[in-house]
């Protein structure tokens, strides 16, 4: 028996909200996404989009496959570098550069995932962390390609001759790519493939007994997750127009995990929420001149893990379920 299945599972089966509520949430979410750069500093809004993709990618693995990847910065950062290099050397429109970056990340995920899915639980986290650190060292070493500690600079941001230097306009140019990525994650989770992943998460032995090639399913989930994280990383490179080694560091992987736990593991949209909040918090901290961002995010994370493990979205869903459950009970009494 694996370590993970000995104790209560990391995730609970998510309750499905009623249909009308789901449509309402979708409309509200889209409205917020369209309004965001008007209410916030647009560059911060763009960061939220990028990190939202990253967090959703991590949740796809953690929440729906039961695998905690602590090395997703490898894919985020690799895609950021690849996107930057493609944009610099080929001068293609930015969505093409981002897509090719994400593809490179997905290709990198094949060997790493192949090795990592041989272990589960805590080992999986350590192994992914270690491989990501290896990528970090390699990037640091290949200065000719990545610029080493100086980073990759002046990445062009091009889209059919449109002027996208203003972050406000870039936000709206990037939004379709982000929505596409989020839609893809949602499609994956709600597909027969996604159901099998959840089955594997809850009971790998049973999934295998039913004839599912567990390793191959996990590997495919890993690669898809890396691709979505890569979309986020590529956009991040475009948004900042330079790429640094930080994008590959384990603190970056950790940040995405913090977002997912804050929003709620296994809720998909919770990751978007967590990303938005954390980016806003960090922006506010750096704006007010507070240097120890890690102190706040780390402390917040400790508190969330200790007493708020369902996360924001998970807690909201639970409250909703309890309320509707109560109503059903009351209705039953009356009838």
């Amino acid at each position: 028996m694996s370590v993970a299945t000995k104790s209560p599972s990391l995730v609970r089966a998510a309750a499905r909200a009623p249909r009308r509520l789901r449509w309402a949430l979708l409309v509200i979410g889209l409205a917020i996404a369209l309004w965001l750069p008007n209410g916030l500093y647009p560059a911060v809004a763009v960061d939220m989009l990028c990190w939202a993709l990253f967090a959703v990618a991590v949740d796809l693995l953690l929440g729906y496959t039961g695998l905690l990847s602590f090395g997703h910065a490898a894919f985020w950062g690799t895609s950021a570098y690849a996107t930057g290099l493609v944009a610099i050397h080929l001068g293609v429109p930015f969505p093409v550069a981002v897509l090719s970056g994400a593809l490179v990340a997905a290709v990198l995920a094949v060997p790493i995932g192949y090795l990592a899915v041989r272990r589960t639980g805590i080992y999986f986290a350590m192994v992914t962390l270690a491989f990501a650190q290896m990528i970090y060292y390699i990037a640091n070493n290949r200065r000719g390609l990545t610029g080493g500690e100086n980073g990759l600079q002046s990445v062009p941001r091009e889209l059919f001759g449109l002027d996208l230097t203003d972050a406000y306009y870039f936000y709206y140019a990037a939004l379709p790519v982000v929505l596409l990525g989020l839609w893809a994650a949602w499609r994956i989770v709600n597909s027969p493939f996604g159901r099998v992943l959840v089955g594997i998460r809850d009971n790998p032995a049973r999934a295998r007994a039913l004839g599912y090639p567990v390793h191959r399913y996990k590997l495919l989930a890993f690669v898809l997750s890396a691709f979505i994280a890569g979309l986020g990383g590529g956009l991040f490179a475009m948004a900042h127009r330079f790429v640094t080694l930080d994008t590959l560091h384990w603190t970056t992987s950790g940040k995405a995990v913090v977002m997912v736990v804050l929003g709620g593991i296994g809720t998909l949209w919770g990751g978007v929420l967590g990303a938005g909040l954390l980016v806003r918090l960090e922006d506010w901290l750096s704006f007010s001149g507070f240097e120890a961002v890690g102190l706040v995010t780390g402390g917040l994370f400790v508190v969330v893990v200790l007493v708020f493990r369902r996360g924001l979205w998970g807690t909201a869903a639970e409250l909703l379920r309890r309320r509707s459950g109560l109503r059903r009970v009351r209705g039953g009494e009356q009838g």
Binding site: M1, S2, V3, A4, S7, P8, S9, L10, L68, F70, L115, A116, R118, R119, T120, G121, I122, Y123, A125, M126, V127, L129, A130, F131, Q133, M134, Y137, I138, N141, P204, A205, V214, W250, T251, G254, V257, V258, V261, E291, A292, V293, G294, L295, T297, G298, G299, L300, F301, V302, V305, L306, R309
Partner: protein, 293 residues
């Protein structure tokens, strides 16, 4: 030949740090099933503490070698009681996440108070010499580090294998339910064992102070190498963790000196070895297969 011996010795010394850290990680994992992400941060606290004891209170190295591990052990026990314990019944991943958050907090606390610059720490005067081994000489301090680490590892192995305390801990590790049924108070040992593992990280930190740059981030990347080391050795195996620690130290030192044109080889060797071990023996060289996943 003499240069080969020199590199080998250097490798054993840096392996000693990896072994001490891996040992603490393995001891904690064995008892609590918790992988302590903050292990590198506690190692850093050990070195910073040694430095502060000298600069703020004038306490010399030898006293630091006693005081720092005791204080950190106590701190570790406090952390176990206050945080880790509360998540003991949940998936061990939660404690991994918790200690990750703790790492960020500890690093930033030190950074906030003392800045990010590295501080030099003088080698203790009694060891500020070289030892002549005939073919080559060595800084006496490094000889001491190696000897101390080997003695510490052997002592822990003896403690676990040949004393009553060790017997109880091993029983509690391998069969917690059965041990409880036989009247052993398993819960009583969890906190001290966690503190002991942290104290080992503290020892490594003290030993590192005169050799390595003391700064808030000195444990940040090291802990990941140690993770790779315990995956190679087999996380549940005390012997495997120590052996892998020394082994990786050797490989890195040889890589650095013989392939010095490609520094990347030495830096990434540990991860490449980890990949090979995962292919060949997923449970680690000395680990037992826990579960067909």
């Amino acid at each position: 030949m003499s240069s080969f011996l020199q590199h080998t010795f250097d490798g054993l010394v840096s392996g000693a740090f990896l072994a001490l850290l891996a040992l603490g990680l393995a001891v904690i994992f064995g008892m609590l099933r918790v992988v302590n992400f903050a292990h590198g941060a506690f190692y850093m606290l050990g070195a910073v503490g040694t430095y502060l004891l000298l600069t703020e209170f004038g306490v010399p190295f030898w006293w630091a070698l006693l005081i720092v591990p005791v204080v950190l052990g106590a701190l570790g026990m406090g952390v176990e009681r206050a945080f880790v314990h509360r998540l003991a019944r949940l998936d061990p991943l939660y404690n991994f996440l918790l200690t990750f958050g703790l790492t960020l907090v500890l690093q930033d606390l030190v950074k906030l108070r003392y800045g990010t610059q590295s501080s030099p720490y003088a080698t203790p005067s009694a060891l500020d010499a070289t030892v002549d081994f005939g073919l080559f000489d060595f800084p006496a301090y490094r000889v001491f580090v190696l000897a101390f680490a080997v003695v510490a590892c052997v002592a822990v192995w003896w403690l676990l294998g040949h004393t009553r305390v060790g017997m109880v801990v091993r029983a509690a590790t391998e069969h917690p339910e059965l041990s409880r049924a036989l009247g052993i108070d398993v819960g009583r040992w969890v906190t001290p064992v966690f503190g002991f593992g942290i104290a080992l990280a503290g020892v490594a930190g003290v030993l590192a102070a005169p050799m390595r740059a003391v700064n808030p981030l000195m444990g940040a990347d090291l802990v990941i190498v140690v993770f790779a080391v315990v995956v190679i050795g087999g996380l549940g195996s005390i012997f495997g963790s120590v052996a892998a620690g020394f082994g990786i130290g050797l490989v890195q030192a040889w890589g650095e000196s013989y392939l010095d044109r490609w520094p990347i080889v030495a830096q990434t060797s540990v991860f490449v070895i980890m990949a090979v071990v995962l292919l060949w023996r997923p449970a680690g060289l000395f680990g037992r297969e826990e579960a067909p996943a």
